[in-house]
């Protein structure tokens, strides 16, 4: 299979970029071969996104050069990059929600004569592309805004096919996909490879990277600290490279004791839930919730927190039955919700760190209705130190922080409002290994302080590593709840995908 030495599709030589005082990317050399899947790994803030911004043309490097098939490549803007055959698929998908699948895929490259659209020809092309990616069930006439996240991603990939892209950059493509959709994505990637498309694959899910990638490059502190082929490299070595220090324990266990029931769901059903759920959560307990995307986990949390209306049943909070509840009421009862949509809902990105941390409870800083800003900032500064948030100051906008640090800010808000029942929805999604480990440790600490934690996650190892008990959801219903020790990855996956828990 290996030709003598075909020129690399992409070569970056000594590329660097400095933002103010920080060297975001330092003398990075990178080679991408034709038809390979190359994983780009590293903690958040390691320089992956800067590198991809340079590649796409969104940011100009201040050092080094790039070549596409040995020809110099210096894109002026993302459109230029796109025309040179580089397509990016970002976590936040780039689609026009009101348009149909066909309209989105053909956007900017409509088939027409004198401005007059040839719909039939375009639909045929779109169908062909969708068939190639094994999703003929997606109709070209479907409105994109109404598709699932997975289907939207397929639409973006189909668009890159028609763009004849030679290089496809996927940034955390599976972070919001169900297991099933992820597997189908890998299948699509394999098909793209047969068309000599090269893929740069960015992900925090290392097991997944191991499955899909041919080679890898690890960035740390803006430098390329190691490249190699996936074969013959084990995950510990890669994690070692990413972290740069001896990797000790992925799931730090903090001993904690289960107390009385903190909150119980009695046949509770929200407007967007498929079926009623009964579940009890004790003080000092970490209860994991597993299930595929769309299995009703998030909807349950939102109903508990009063974001969705309760249709039937009730919530028992310290012995009292309550049916109606708004976030205002629930926060008063000691609930705190960490949204799965950190940027859209969880944080006010344009506001400062201090405002974000204290947003749900300004009361300690009020005097005669006026906000005592200095005190607020000092309190926020304490949280920054306590949660080891990497930020310049409490008045810095959250927008500029890395994903892991943003998540810490969101978590700091729950701690600040002294929530006693923490509803955490995908708290570690899209954040780096070190931040993850810190969050696991805090979850343990919280349980030790007697707080009740509901931990929704799609990442099975962390549920198994952190939780006391794990409940599995399937198609809106609760399949089973067991002690974590009585689950393993296989049985969890089986329960989540098939809806039946193997005995054990």
């Amino acid at each position: 299979m290996a030709n003598p030495s075909p020129p690399p599709v992409l070569r970056m030589a000594g590329v660097g970029k400095t933002y103010g005082a920080t060297r975001a990317l330092d003398d990075v050399t990178f080679e991408l071969r034709r038809g390979e899947v190359h994983a780009l790994l590293g903690e958040n803030g390691a320089g992956k996104s800067t590198m991809m911004k340079i590649l796409s043309g969104a940011v100009a490097p201040d050092a080094g050069r790039m070549f596409i098939e040995d020809r110099p490549y210096a894109p002026a803007d993302p459109l230029d990059g796109l025309r040179s055959g580089i397509s990016m698929i970002y976590q936040e998908l780039n689609l026009a929600p009101h348009l149909t699948v066909e309209e989105n895929i053909m956007l900017g490259r409509e088939v027409h004569s004198l401005g007059w659209l040839d719909r039939r020809a375009m639909k045929a092309r779109v169908r062909e592309a969708l068939e190639f990616v094994h999703h003929p069930e997606i109709s070209p006439d479907a409105q994109v805004g109404k598709l699932s996240v997975g289907a939207k991603q397929v639409v973006e990939i189909a668009r890159t096919l028609l763009n004849k892209s030679r290089i496809l950059v996927m940034d955390e493509p599976t972070s919001s996909l169900s297991q099933e959709d992820s597997l189908r994505l890998f299948e699509i990637i394999r098909r793209l490879k047969t068309q000599d498309v090269s893929v740069i694959y960015i992900s925090h899910f290392l097991e997944e990277v191991q499955k899909v990638a041919d080679s890898f490059t690890v960035l740390r502190d803006g430098r390329n600290v190691g490249s190699g082929t996936m074969e013959g490299t084990n995950l510990e070595e890669i994690i070692q490279l990413m972290v740069g220090q001896k990797f000790t324990e992925m799931f730090p266990r903090v001993p904690h004791e289960k107390g009385d029931v903190a909150v119980a769901l009695k046949d509770m059903k929200g407007t967007r839930m498929a079926s009623p759920i009964s579940l009890a959560l004790a003080k000092g307990e970490i209860l994991g919730i597993a299930g595929l995307i769309g299995s009703g986990r998030t909807e349950m949390l939102r109903t508990m927190f009063g974001l969705d209306a309760m249709e039937s049943g009730c919530l028992v909070v310290s012995g009292v039955e309550t049916a109606k509840g708004s976030p205002w009421v629930r926060i008063g009862q000691g609930f705190g919700l960490l949204s799965e949509d950190r940027q859209g809902e969880g944080l006010a990105l344009a506001l400062s760190l201090a405002d974000n941390v204290t947003l749900s409870d300004f009361s300690p800083y009020l005097r005669l209705g006026l906000l005592r800003v200095a005190r607020q900032q000092k309190a926020a500064g304490d949280w920054i130190a306590r949660l080891k948030i990497k930020a310049r100051s409490p008045v810095q906008r959250v927008l500029g922080l890395s994903g892991g640090n943003q998540q810490k800010v969101a978590l700091a808000r729950l701690l600040h409002q002294r929530a006693k029942v923490l509803l955490l929805d995908e708290p570690t999604r899209g954040i780096d290994v070190v931040s993850k480990a810190q969050i696991y440790e805090w979850i343990g600490e919280l349980a030790r302080e007697g707080k009740a934690v509901l931990f929704v996650s799609s990442y099975l190892p962390e549920l198994l590593g952190v939780c006391d008990r794990i409940a599995v959801f399937h198609r809106g219903g609760l399949v089973d709840v067991r002690d974590a020790s009585r689950w393993d990855a296989q049985s969890l996956m089986a329960a989540a995908t098939v809806g039946r828990a193997p005995s054990g």
Partner: protein, 334 residues
């Protein structure tokens, strides 16, 4: 690991596409029937209201708002807004009257009026794209500028112009009589069809929706968004110019103080017809129904002898109800 089902979660509902589009127009249409039915059931006005002649006059009265709304639909779908429409209509009518009064042939007056509107639109579009200003603010400014210029050119009074065929464009009983309706009404119908076709069957139309739905995506896909936006505002301006000529045709004078606040009626018509102020949604058919709903309401209320303020309250309520129903429908889809 083989997955049990080949279907992807959430793809269901894809066949609703065309049905949904039908429903989007059906909503306003039911509203229109409702409004007509109410007045048709009022014993005091039933006889006069249901006459063909009355329907003709409603159609004629709708011409000015309808022409403005054709362009406004384009702008609102693209995520913009134009507050200068009313002033632009006044300025164009003054220019048309001024030219004809100065001895220009009626055709020249008509063309000058339309082009004036187009220039104002071009000005809006250029400012919005080149200076990267918000359409709301730019057109708020143009609203004042155009109104002031109209008053200046007209010397702060009405401009009389000799009667020409231009004044027959808005005649309820047209000559030749086989036209049945005022030529202005036919002009509206013609352009409504043209614009509906442009929006649905041309690359430009598709780009208008794309820009309103997600402008950065449109830009990333290689659409020259600035060019498209300038074109959108220029076209909308031309429609305001034509609307201004119709205003002059109706009044037989160029009046710089006419059409104050008319942009709000125009925007209301688009929104009642299913247009979304956040962009990406709207249709010509819906807008035309919105125009008719408002025209029938005015007509019916006048016949009932209800004072003006009642009309204003009713139309205000209708706007809120229309948008509320729209919201509810969207929520059901989610």
């Amino acid at each position: 690991m083989k997955t049990p089902s080949k279907r992807m979660a959430g793809v269901s509902g894809q066949h609703k596409g065309s049905l949904q589009k039908a429903l989007n127009v059906l909503g306003p249409f039911i509203g229109l029937i409702f409004v007509v039915a109410i007045f048709a059931l009022m014993p005091e006005v039933r006889d006069r209201f249901l006459r063909i002649g009355n329907f003709k006059s409603v159609a004629t009265q709708s011409v000015i708002v309808a022409l403005g709304a054709l362009g406004m639909t384009l702008i609102i779908i693209s995520g913009g807004i134009d507050l200068s429409a009313g002033s632009n209509i006044a300025l164009s009518s003054v220019i048309a009257a001024y030219a004809i009064n100065a001895g220009a042939p009626p055709v020249a007056g008509l063309v000058l009026g339309v082009l004036t509107g187009g220039l104002v639109g071009l000005f809006n579009g250029t400012l919005i794209t080149r200076l990267r200003l918000v359409p709301f603010i730019v057109t708020l400014g143009t609203m004042g500028i155009a109104r002031g210029m109209a008053k200046w050119i007209a010397g702060n009074q009405k401009i009389d112009a000799p009667m020409t065929w231009v004044n027959e464009l808005m005649a309820k009983s047209p000559r030749p009589s086989w036209l049945l309706m005022a030529p202005g009404v036919w002009i509206v119908i013609l352009f409504a069809v043209v614009m509906a076709v442009v929006l649905r069957y041309t690359v430009f139309g598709r780009h208008v929706f794309a820009i309103g739905s997600n402008e950065s995506t449109a830009r990333l896909c290689g659409i020259r968004t600035n060019r498209a936006k300038i074109l959108i505002y220029a076209i909308a301006g031309l429609f305001c110019g034509l609307s201004g000529v119709m205003e002059f045709s109706r009044l037989t004078v160029g009046d710089p103080t006419v059409a104050v606040g008319l942009e709000l009626d125009i925007i209301a018509a688009v929104v009642i017809g299913g247009g979304s102020l956040s962009g990406g949604e709207g249709s010509i058919l819906g807008t035309m129904i919105g125009v008719l709903i408002m025209a029938f309401l005015r007509n019916g209320c006048t016949m009932m002898g209800w004072p003006n303020y009642i009309q204003e309250i009713i139309i205000g309520v209708i706007i809120v109800v229309a948008v509320t129903l729209d919201r509810l429908r969207h929520r059901q889809e989610d």
